[in-house]
């Protein structure tokens, strides 16, 4: 099942996708164009991975890390499908990052890799924008690059784990104004989803609503006001975002 949270007529509704439309929890069937899309989950702790695809690590002139490069993000960063994201005034390099988002469904500690999928509620698509102008070599990637308001669209759907039989073999793609700019496969992750869940849960307790953004493949490009950025993952969703100028 594909689950969404939407705003319609001033109210927040849970909804599920049904033949191209949205079935609200009150039974109504509505046009997806008629609603405001909220992030499909209200994340608790948000983890993100840097350099988790070998090609992308090479693109950024890094050798692949020996342990996962994990950083955290605040809830201020998350926005929904079809939202606008502000490009900071004066920035010269803002790029998208199409990422498979893993939503945790159970409290989990010391999860072995071969049982990791048991704690996954489902999957979504994230676009974890970075503004590289602000990179500094302290706790890199630093929060000024990665923790900006509304710079991490998430959605449109939370797709139940049962409906994504092989999350490690999905095509990811980013289109800017309809042109394919980034393409890869989750099979090329350096640390796959079971490895990441095992690693994180060996450090700390994971909880329902925690979200892991699993990194992005190569193919970064600068985007600017007016651009429509679509990040999509096979079988999980197509997430649209509009870049606007900061005012």
């Amino acid at each position: 099942m594909k689950r969404a949270r939407i705003l319609l007529d001033g109210m927040v509704h849970a909804a599920v996708g049904e033949q191209g439309r949205l079935r609200l929890s009150d039974g109504r069937l509505v046009d997806p164009e008629a609603v405001t899309w909220l992030p499909p989950v209200e994340p608790r702790t948000i983890f993100a991975l840097g350099l988790n695809y070998a090609d992308h690590a090479k693109e950024l002139a890094f050798k692949a890390p020996e342990t996962p490069l994990v950083f955290l993000k605040g809830p201020n960063t998350i926005t929904g499908h079809r939202a606008s994201t502000r490009r900071p005034a004066g920035a010269t390099f803002m790029h998208y990052e199409c990422e498979l988002a893993v939503v945790i469904g159970r409290t989990a500690r010391d999860v072995p890799r071969d049982r990791a999928y048991e704690v996954v509620a489902g999957y979504s698509v994230a676009n974890d924008y970075a503004i590289r102008d602000y990179l500094e070599n302290y706790y890199r990637p630093n929060l000024r690059v990665k923790n900006r308001d509304g710079c991490t669209p998430l959605g449109p759907w939370l797709v139940d784990a049962a409906d994504v039989p092989d999350p490690m073999n999905l095509t990811l793609r980013t289109l800017v104004n309809g042109r394919v700019m980034q393409e890869g496969s989750t099979r090329d992750m350096i640390f796959d989803v079971p490895h990441l869940i095992a690693y994180l849960s060996s450090i700390m307790t994971l909880s329902p609503g925690d979200v892991i953004l699993t990194g992005t493949p190569e193919g970064l490009a600068n985007v600017g006001p007016g651009d429509i950025v679509t990040t999509e993952i096979e079988g999980v969703g197509s997430l649209v975002n509009h870049i606007v100028a900061d005012i």
Binding site: L72, K73, N137, Y139, N142, N147
Partner: protein, 229 residues
């Protein structure tokens, strides 16, 4: 400005806890030239932040378990600004209007001399952010005159005056909210000194700040493999 006072009482903050490093002169002076060497290349320009996620939040009297395989942890004293209203792009002159309360914090971490990569393994283990009683901001006069004393088993091991801040509270708030929103209930702490005192299993660590109830925690052995922590 209308403010509420969130986070009163024990344990959980209502929001995120954002930590800060390299905001005290002694640490910057000590690291000095190293900050211009690889991998850093240059001293930091913007405030250097990290996140203490929900699983780390704990209250006064908490037992903090060592991560498995660790024998020592660092205990770093600081004071948290409890945010009272959503705060974006604050002006330094009025930034403190967004602060509802003040909260003592002992940031517990695995020692690591490097601050190049985000400190998830080091600073995000369960219970590693014990926080004390919140006092209303208005009840505390002269933040920068406060002294933070850390005691281990009754012996003072660190003493720090908040007059050592590189960015005083209002400036720190203005710079941080210049690139991200702090929400009502979030906590931004004023920064910790790096590579401070260490404690091990069986130690009792206490943070004393005049006017605040002491914050006291106990360090305990790691959970055994398979044991529910």
């Amino acid at each position: 400005m209308q403010t509420v006072l969130p986070g009163l009482g024990q344990g959980m903050a209502r929001g995120m806890v954002y930590g800060v490093i390299l905001n005290d002169r002694p640490t910057l002076d000590r690291l000095g030239p190293a900050l211009s060497q690889p991998p850093y290349g240059a001293p930091p320009k913007a405030p250097v932040l990290y996140i203490k996620p929900y699983n780390t939040h704990a209250g006064n009297g908490a037992a903090v378990r060592l991560p498995r395989g660790a024998e020592r942890v660092e205990v770093a004293a600081t004071l948290g600004l409890v945010i009272g209203c959503d705060a974006t792009a604050l002006d330094e002159a009025t930034a403190m209007d967004a602060v509802a309360g003040l909260r003592p914090i002992l940031d517990v971490s695995l020692p690591n001399p490097s601050v190049y990569r985000p400190p998830v393994r080091e600073r995000c283990f369960d219970g590693s952010c014990p926080m004390g009683e919140t006092l209303p901001y208005a009840a505390v006069a002269g933040l920068e005159a406060l002294t933070l004393r850390t005691l281990i088993n009754g012996t003072m091991v660190a003493e720090r005056s908040l007059s050592d801040l590189v960015r005083p509270p209002a400036r720190l708030l203005a710079e941080v909210t210049g690139f991200m929103t702090l929400r009502a209930g979030d906590i931004l702490h004023l920064g910790i000194a790096l590579n401070g005192p260490q404690a091990g299993a069986g130690d009792r660590v206490r943070l004393e700040i005049d006017g605040f109830d002491p914050l006291e925690i106990a360090i305990e052995d790691a959970a055994a493999e398979g044991e529910t922590p």
